[in-house]
Amino acid sequence: MQTHFNEIMAIAKRILLELVRLRRSLIFWVVFPALMLLLFGLIYAGGNGTSKSFDSTAPGILIGAALFFSCLGGPVALIVAERERRTLRRMLISPLKSTSYFMGIVLAYLVIALGQAIIVYGIAAVFGGRFHGSVWLGILIIILSVFSFVGVGFFFGARFTKRTEDVNGPVAAFGVPLLVLGGTFFPVSILPPYLLTLAYINPIFHMNQALKSVSARGSGVEEISTHLVFLFAFTVIALILGAHSFKSMLLQEKRG
């Protein structure tokens, strides 16, 4: 148990240290959601008081513009980089367990998610927005979202990307339509009925709706139970997909 914990901490610490050294990704992960929040918060305010618009904009921006790019795009880029610089092979030679490696990545991105949540809600608070519901319920939704994003990130990183240049393609091609359809930037109420039906099978829709309900309307577990069940199920599926793809990639990597 202690061994696992040490390994997880070592991986998480290294990822965060590298991100701090590189800075570029961290700056993007702060500037992009901050700008999107300001933009959409002010657009939806429509010249009136801003507190309500920032109440309802902050959750969607946190899930779609912040966590999506950091916790999904980040692991994809990380796995590709580990393969390219052959450090993945060095880790395979070591006694490091693959579950520790995965959990180390999740932990690193949970820290980043926490930072992004503080920044998004900090900016929203400046404009009068606030978190109305249970903070613990909000944290649960964020944790589930991070796990599922990292799981999908492992899936894409291990299956579809071999070089750094391949990273943006799948993330943009699959991700951006899901963000639009998930109500990240626009309320889903403007969607035509057939697209709304499609939105119900979009995990980002459930992440957004769950966090928006808790954060902007103060909803409890019962009111968001459908979204939570979907989110739990998707997290499990994402983790299975991610683990399976990662395992196949490791087998290839072991052959050298």
Binding site: L17, R21, R85, R86, M91, P95
Partner: protein, 296 residues
């Protein structure tokens, strides 16, 4: 100590290792030589527990290779596998942590390696700022971060300039003094000659020759090698046949396997006036042994 007994491995129809046998004794440096595809990388992958052999036994310090023997083994990969945005010290600390060293052990080992590999001046610089030679040093030091008795060096000097290569050879030679068991794979025969106490030549997945350099020299029926160039090769071949001297053509150069020690004048006299455009003498080296035992 590394023991490989009757190891076999196939990928589909392709037999990569065929009853491979060799032993690397404690404190010795064993050079595993072979052309690309001879089975060196597969052997290393099996020793590192990345692949399973189909048959045979592989052990490190008497323990069958498994996930548990990973702690006994340090591996210097062909490629520089480091986090280049982190400093040398941070790389050492990270890899020490994934080998589960305690904080005290980690600090002591990191400082010791920085000293051994003379990294002091560069220890807190990002690896990306270092030259290729220094990056190789860090790459090797990382493989030694957990206390170990066995080291695998997979073409450790590939792509290095001469100066950096010599420096790394000195480092490997100094490791020999510390009773570490080393398995070295290399394409550079000079490297094997200089560093190895025992050499195994691998061909089609089996060892075809093994021993110290002196023992291997006995496999070549020559006391000396003469490299000659002539426009009258047919006449030369006839003369060599009458003298009973063997000859080989390696890389377009004609090598005469001399049965005794001769001076250049004696050789020219024995060749009976056949005009030579050049002639030089060499000791029987690993290059000749390698070509002799691997030729079909």
């Amino acid at each position: 100590m590394i023991e490989v007994i009757d190891l076999e491995k196939s990928f589909g129809e392709k037999h990569v290792l065929n009853r491979l046998i060799f032993t690397v004794n404690q404190g010795s440096v064993y050079g595993l030589l072979g052309s690309n595809g001879a089975g060196k990388t597969t052997t290393i992958n099996i020793l590192c527990n990345l692949l399973d052999g189909d048959a045979g036994n592989v052990s490190i310090n008497g323990k069958a290779v498994s996930g548990k023997t990973k702690n006994l083994l340090g591996v210097v990969l062909q490629e520089i596998a480091l986090y280049k945005d982190l400093t040398c010290r941070e790389n050492l600390l990270f890899f020490g942590r994934i080998y589960n060293l305690s904080q005290v052990q980690l600090m002591a080992k990191t400082n010791e390696l920085i000293q051994t590999f003379k990294l002091g001046e560069y220890a807190d610089m990002p690896v990306s700022k270092l030259s290729g030679g220094w990056q190789r040093r860090v790459n090797m030091s990382v493989a030694l971060v957990h206390s170990l008795s066995t080291l695998i060096l997979d073409e450790p000097t590939a792509g290095l300039d001469i100066e950096a290569r010599y420096e790394l050879w000195d480092l490997i030679a100094s490791l020999k003094e510390t009773d570490v068991t080393i398995l070295l794979t290399t394409h550079q025969l000079e490297e094997a000659e200089k560093l190895c106490t025992c050499i195994g030549i691998l061909k089609n997945g089996s060892i075809v020759a093994e021993g110290s350099l002196d023992e291997l020299r006995n496999l070549v029926q020559a006391k000396q090698i003469a490299l000659v160039e002539t426009d009258m090769e047919t006449d030369l071949y006839q003369r060599l046949t009458s003298l009973g001297w063997k000859h080989r053509k390696y890389g377009g150069r004609l090598s005469l396997l001399l049965p005794d020690q001769f001076t250049l004048k004696e050789i020219i006299d024995k060749l009976d006036g056949i005009p030579l455009s050049s002639i030089s003498l060499q000791e029987v080296g690993l290059e000749h042994i390698y070509l002799e035992v691997t030729s079909d």
